[in-house]
Amino acid sequence: MKIFVLAEHRDGKLNRATWEVIVAGQHLAAHLKGSVSAVLLGRDIRGLAEELAAKRLHEVLVVEDERLAEYTPDGYTAALIEVIRQEAPAFVLMSHTYQARDFAPKLAAALGKALISDCLGYRVDDGTVIYTRPIFQGKIHADVRFADDPPYLVTFQAGAFRADEIEAASEPVPIRAIPIDLSPVPIRTRPLEVFREAKQAVDLSSAERIVAVGRGIKSEENLALIRQLAEALNAEIGASRPVCDSGWLPMDRQIGSSGQTVSPKLYLAIGISGAIQHVVGMKGSRTIVAINKDPEAPIFDIADYGIVGDLFEIVPALIKALKQLRE
């Protein structure tokens, strides 16, 4: 049984999520007595192939083509359809990155197959692989399985597997080029420059304490309360995406997959549900406190101290207690 893992890279570097998915592949291969190979698409990618070849894989499959020099959904899909046709893998595993979100559903549809996306893990039950994935922004989980023939396309959420569990190879595994002629493939999207918005005014990555506010704050005016708390704690203010989307705080206060990644000594999450896209940006914090009125909020999954209650009651009391401490 062949298990393929798609390696993702940008600017000559492998995305570290790739290592996590290789770990997923290595586990799955052990369960199903299969072999794992990495698939790498691009141009001038020999170095990356060698880096992958140092891991315990069956082989590293490489498709090199001018038309893969930059990622496009058309180029990636055409190349992978051909890889899958020639090699007939049973599984194609990917990370649920922005790039995979962009082409993996297209690939699945072009193959007429299902894609099970954003998986947290899997188990093998009587030979069937059952995947667990979050629904309702992680408040509930679902067990899902394929109701169709292979190839099975799966994306795993960042952090679902631990990159440091990767098994290295005792000697480099073979690298094999797959010849594919992409010249007849129309590439309809034209990728232009990659950029950041004008300089970030605040760098939250070096903050020691962060008071982060979410949609639970309800309105821009209520942010005054958060400012007072931040002042009492001598902390920086951070926010979840909806707070920035609404324009209540500038984008450079946003924490999460599309914002900043922080690891302060103290992270106070106030009225934040704890969606994965937020959590990836703050889970490295040393002490996490969550204030949320919903006892099922996923943020309590990673909090050291939890307060189930109304932030509009708790926060004023907390400001008062901190002021007393000062005096």
Partner: protein, 259 residues
């Protein structure tokens, strides 16, 4: 410019969810519903494009009878007409088959642009829009934060991870999946709400689309849903707000040593 917006109705945010008895989905009986957040941004973007360039905005939703409320809301905000894909056979479809039905319905419209949200708050597949593009043979871009219409082409700003963006050009007709935050959605006006009552909501069922139930066999099966067990032992602080505050300060000071 003729723009189609695909939108989905999802349970209102902030509701306490319960599971149905069989543990196969949530209990839907007493929920209230709203337009999926990124889809609401997609609708707003379509309305702005129409205001700038002229044309028509058509909203399309697949779902049970309650979905009509979401379509009315979209019409009240300024969409011109609506398609409601309604059939018992459409219940519980996976991403592929949902896109399949949408594709059959939209094939009949000569559109320039389709907008969808980037994912839904319920299933969160993040797939339906992209599959729809493939089934209709359209180029697409996902996680879009800005749209510029050039001569027969689009230039769109895609969000990448960690605060990065990328401009991408693609020809029309095309499909874009929209990210929350691309704009500030409007509220419906009273006039809009009144006007919406006269706008058309066309219902399309399985047979109208030339599909059969057998063709819509799910490719992935949702077996059960459950509340996850918490991985970490969170220490919950209880009491009155004052007691909680005092205990937290103490914990932060002496246990966590961050004060």
């Amino acid at each position: 410019m003729k723009i189609i917006v695909c939108l989905k109705q999802v349970p209102k945010r902030d509701l306490a969810l319960r599971l149905n008895e069989a543990g196969t989905w949530i209990a839907e009986a007493d929920l209230s519903w709203e337009i999926n957040e990124p889809d609401a941004y997609a609708l707003e973007e379509a309305l702005r494009l129409k205001e700038r360039l002229g044309g028509e905005v058509i909203v399309c939703s697949l779902g049970p009878a309650r979905v009509e409320q979401a379509l009315r809301e979209a019409l009240a905000k300024g969409a011109d007409r609506a398609l409601h894909l309604l059939d018992p056979a459409f219940e519980g479809l996976d991403a592929f088959n949902t896109a399949r039905v949408l594709a059959e319905a939209l094939r009949r419209e000569s559109f320039d642009l389709i907008l969808t949200g980037l994912q839904s708050d319920d299933h969160g597949y993040a797939q339906t829009g992209v599959i729809l593009a493939e089934l209709l043979g359209l180029p697409h871009a996902t996680i879009v934060m800005q749209i510029e219409v050039l001569d027969g082409r689009l230039k769109v700003k895609r969000e990448l991870e960690a605060g990065w963006f990328q401009w991408v050009e693609l020809p029309l007709p095309a499909l874009l999946t929209i990210q929350s935050g691309i704009n500030q959605p409007r509220y419906a006006t009273l006039k809009g709400i009144m006007g919406a009552k006269k706008k058309e909501i066309r219902r399309l069922a399985l047979a109208d689309l030339g599909l059969s139930a057998q063709e819509l066999r799910n490719k992935q099966e949702l077996m059960r849903v459950f509340f996850p067990t918490k991985a970490k032992r969170t220490e919950f602080l209880e009491g009155t707000p004052e007691e909680i505050a005092a205990r937290l300060v103490e914990k932060l000071r002496y246990e966590a040593k961050v004060l």
